[in-house]
């Protein structure tokens, strides 16, 4: 499941090779190598948090930059959790800095989101639109657990909150999402093509 359908569409699974292909130009260190391996997972996480893939790529870039800047602070264990914590904080800060709710046009979001999917683009749009309606903290919790497979304890560590808060956020996420998706089913989305 870690690999998307695009890999098959390639017919070669060569994407993974790409990432490892050019660690030569200024990114040869062990830390960089380890970070590079984590990029696909960080990309999925960032895309699952943001309204558009473009926003997700931006968040990913910020995350990697921050990780490189703070490499001295990494204690040498669990780079994945460490980088996920960084991204989680960056995401949270973005939302705090922003006016209440982000105002990215939904149409734009859909346009970008649908460009490289081999699955049902409507379904992805539907899910993403529903997730956009969740509070960012609630969305973060749900994505860490559901998409990234973290345990509740690990998710609590990454978000730096008590585990009880993880549970209540998860509960709210699922409740709200059920309502949002049920509503969505009544009004079929149709995109002009």
């Amino acid at each position: 499941m870690p690999h998307g359908p695009e890999d098959d569409a390639d017919g070669s699974g060569r994407r993974a090779g790409h990432a490892r292909q050019a660690p030569d130009e200024g990114a040869a260190g062990a830390f960089e190598d380890a970070l590079l391996v984590l990029v696909p997972g960080l990309r999925r996480y960032s895309h699952s948090l943001t309204r558009t893939d473009a926003d997700g790529e931006d968040l990913l870039q910020d995350c990697v930059e921050t990780a490189l800047q703070r490499r001295a602070q990494w204690r040498g264990v669990n780079l994945r959790a460490w980088t996920f914590t960084i991204m989680t904080n960056l995401y949270r800060n973005r939302h705090r800095a922003r006016v209440r709710w982000p105002t990215t046009a939904i149409d734009e979001a859909q346009e970008i989101a649908d460009t490289d999917r081999t699955g049902d683009p409507l379904e992805r749009t539907r899910i993403r639109t529903a997730l956009d309606a969740l509070h960012p903290d609630i969305r973060t919790t749900l994505m860490l657990v559901v998409v990234e497979g973290y345990t509740y304890q690990e998710a609590a560590g990454i978000m730096q909150i008590p585990i009880g808060t993880v549970m209540s956020r998860l509960s709210r996420a699922r409740h709200q999402l059920a309502e949002l998706l049920a509503k969505d089913n009544i009004v079929p989305l149709r995109r002009p093509k």
Binding site: H3, G4, P5, E6, D7, A9, D10, G11, S12, G13, R14, R15, A16, G17, H18, A19, Q21, A22, P23, E25, G26, A27, E32, L36, P40, R43, R44, H47, S48, D53, A54, E57, D58, Q61, V64, E65, E108, I112, D114, T115, D116, T118, G119, E123, R124, I127, R128, L131, L142, M143, V145, V146, V147, T151, Y152, M167, S171, R174, A178, L181
Partner: protein, 265 residues
Amino acid sequence: MNEGKATVGENDLHAYVDGLLDDGRRAEVEAWLEAHPQEAERVAGWWSQNERIRDAFAGDYIARIDDPDLLRPDGSPSAVAGHRARIARIGLAAAATLLIFAAGFGTGRMLPAGTVPAAGASDTSLAAEARSAFLIYTSEVRHPVEVGADQQEHLAAWLGKRLDYRLRVPDLSSLGYALVGGRLVPVAGKPGALLMYQNPAGQRLTMMIGRNDENSETSFRLDVQAPLRTFYWIDGPIGYAVTGEISADALRAVADECYRQMEEA
């Protein structure tokens, strides 16, 4: 945590759906759910949510060829790369590239003749080239081309001469794309032509054309290198690729149109 059938709580149900219970506890929860159909229905809904969310983002777990650029520290050439990536992203949101490439296929570096392309290094270099061209030229605002559409005849003659091929510049106006112009580009170390198109919305397509010394034929092939798609084909001495950040159908329509016009030429 709670224990016993009667004490299954909300947290247990979440942990059940998230696969975080051990076998014993899971069996208990399942037994409890059988006795509580209403709760079971709710839990089934969560289960379905999980599946849909995972499916929605499964395709985002990908490495991209320019990922190493992310890791270049500021100040080195990387600042430029990062800057370029940002610009490219802005471009990508609105731009599509149509690349028609062709060139040294006969060297075996790019595509094996007439067969399904092999995985691995041979295709990697091709995809890399297409991607570079996309990143570099579609994000160019001021000088996207060397010769503009106003000199279309000169453009065709000039690039055709370098390619040693009677280049016909496809007319994509039926698909809403007007010619911006073209430039000479290296493709697999040989002269190739890059043509660029743009629609009224500012979305760009570029097309790369180059030589195929092997003189082989292939059908249309699709290469997906998120977020880009490439349709490519080899037609005798010339190879073509169209790459775009547009739907496969839309890109296919462009490729079909190009193919049709090339055939007429």
